[in-house]
Amino acid sequence: MRLALTWWGCLWLALAVAGCGATPPPPGVSLVLAGGSGPEEAFAQEQLREFHRLHPDIRVTYQATPSSASERHTLYVTWLSSQAPDIDVLNLDVIWVPEFAAAGWLVPLDRQAAAAGISLDDFLPAGLACSLYQGKLYALPWFVDAGLLYYRRDIYAAAGAPLPHTFADLLRVRSLKEKFGLPYGFLFQGQTYEGLVCVALEFIWSNGGRVFDDSGRLVLDQPRNLEALKTMVNLIYRDRVSPLAVATFQEEDCRHAFEQGYAVLMRNWPYAYPLLSQPASRVQGKFGVLPLVHGPDGQPTSCFGGGCLGINTFSRHPAAAWTLVRFLMSRKNLKRRAKALGMLPPLASLYDDPDLQAQFPYLQRLKNVFSQARPRPITPLYSFISDILQVHFSRALTRQETPQEALQKSQTEIAGVLQRFGRAGAP
């Protein structure tokens, strides 16, 4: 009998607890801002408190979402395809704007931006390009990311070697690595993920190659692209400048190896700079950043990344959401964000700010790199394109096919996708 009572008691208790958790919404205008967790969240809460002081009638809740791009994308797609109004202001990766805009999930911001007197010219060109879709503004660039070349200043100085600027200069890295007893020469991200596309496109663009030409035609299979891809693959197998390990590396693997002093050169995003400058880092004070190496036919061109802010079409308070976006996009707040989180601002003029330059001594160099950075193909079909490129670039890198085959097959497959879905999404 007692056993039966315990059983039923547990069951009812369980059901009661199960009902817990839902809270009624507070009164007034309630907005939700989605963004990353950790230090980003702590800083955002500070900003939101100030926002509330300025706009007491608007209450903003911060919703921490995974910072990893694919998990956040999963959430956004799940929510927005169900037309959920839960999140008002979205933190978007630059490559999502075209597809979300095409899906009708983002509120066009031209009118509001004009009314608020936001000068679009002050934005870094690549950032602005990523926020436009079919000529309309669907998001505002929030922070900026682009590939940099990190190098060991001490090693280059000790060897008296010229700093690396061209593809040919990469060959010298092997002798440097051997001379100073380092296990790795040049590290980059080569695993089968979006980062590989960024790196490979950087090689291609820096050699004067293109994926789409100015008229929007697919020109993937061409000599300059082939040269660039061959250079990348040869780094591992012929020139022995990069280890095969790079085919499995993501950003953090490269960063940790460089931080421990194992590598001469590294291609990585700006986020690594403050981390490498910490006391625990073995290369503190011994490294610097340069624009990426370029080929004989090109200029150093980084891949543009970063984030934008967009407003959910299904939001119940789009006007209030715009107020929040304007607040977050103010020069003061962009600057504070850069100083607190190292997330560099999208406004070109802020790079001349003495305050920021004091904290980031390499800021001018960054500005040059960002100004010349190129965005990835701006089309809702980008996920299809990226998928195809990831597979074939990875196959080339692991010698499952030659660079020639990789480009040819990519060209054929992407052309197929464009033809099939093309009218709906050519860049």
Binding site: G21, G38, A64, P66, S67, S68, W79, S82, E252, A280
Partner: protein, 273 residues
């Protein structure tokens, strides 16, 4: 015969070492400072031994909240699942009625569908029902996907228990439920506790639904919380390893608690009746 015994002994030890080793390495690594974690020939022992990772996840990230959420969701789901599942299994195993195969089939079919396909429509359903961010938003799908295994396993289990004992109870005048409660259930204890562990761990480990249906910190469960340790590019390996270590403790505790129950076994006497 002696020799085969020794072989079994050695094989068992090897098996334990192999299955325990990656976990042991994770445990050790979680106490290493970041600089030591990323060395080309990693040292075995942390030097210096540091609690930094654990401090970070508990004090900075409030990981204990996620642990509590996971325990509640997994615990409640397990209770309900075992209760409903054992009843259903008893009906399927012992009673004669039409449509048994169909019902077993339907229950099975539900768990053969990839969860990715189901996330969006489920989200829509829960959103309309205002269940997002409640415990129920997780408990309901977990129940749905844990019940098939529970029902099938217990059905197989109940069928193997000799019927004479229940017949005896019937003849003594006991009704269906009473027979179930007093005769079948105790005999099936190993199966019940096994199912409990299986269900608990399924809920403990589930990621996709937990990611999609709990959007705020307060209701987040462990797997999602750990994935969210990562920043825009950064991946705090030390903290992740520490969290993984922490996560296995309650489950190890649960298994320890129940392990004698799942290995209790039937003695010849009870079977003979």
């Amino acid at each position: 015969m002696r020799r085969s015994g020794v072989l079994v002994y050695i094989a068992t030890i090897a098996f334990i070492l192999l299955s325990f080793f990656p976990f042991f390495w994770t445990l050790l690594s979680s106490f290493k400072p970041a600089s030591q974690l990323f060395q080309i020939n990693p040292a075995f022992w942390p030097q210096p031994f540091t609690w930094e990772n654990y401090r970070a996840i508990f004090l900075e990230r409030r990981f204990y909240l996620n642990i509590i959420n996971s325990i509640v969701v997994a615990g409640v789901t397990t209770c309900i699942c075992v209760a409903l599942g054992s009843l259903a299994a008893y009906g399927l195993a012992r009673l004669a009625f039409r449509g048994k195969t169909l019902i077993l089939g339907f229950i099975l079919v539900v768990s053969l569908f990839p969860p990715i396909a189901i996330v969006s429509p489920l989200f829509l359903m829960f959103e309309k029902a205002r269940l997002i961010n409640t415990y129920l938003a997780l408990i309901l799908p977990y129940l749905t996907f844990a019940l098939p295994l529970t029902v099938w396993l217990l059905t197989a289990f109940f069928r193997q228990i000799p019927f004479e004992l229940e017949e005896a109870a019937h003849m003594d005048g006991a009704g269906t439920l009473r027979t179930f409660w007093e005769v079948t259930l105790p005999l099936a204890a190993p199966g019940i506790f096994t199912t409990a562990i299986l269900t608990f761990i399924y809920c403990w480990n589930e990621f996709l639904f937990a990611l999609a249906f709990t959007t705020n910190d307060a209701s987040r469960t462990i797997p999602v919380a750990i994935v969210m340790f990562s920043g825009y590019h950064t991946v705090p390996w030390g903290q992740i390893l520490a969290a993984v270590t922490v996560v296995t403790v309650p489950v190890a505790g649960l298994v320890l608690l129940l392990q004698r129950r799942i290995i209790s076994g039937l003695t010849a006497g009870a079977v003979k009746g």
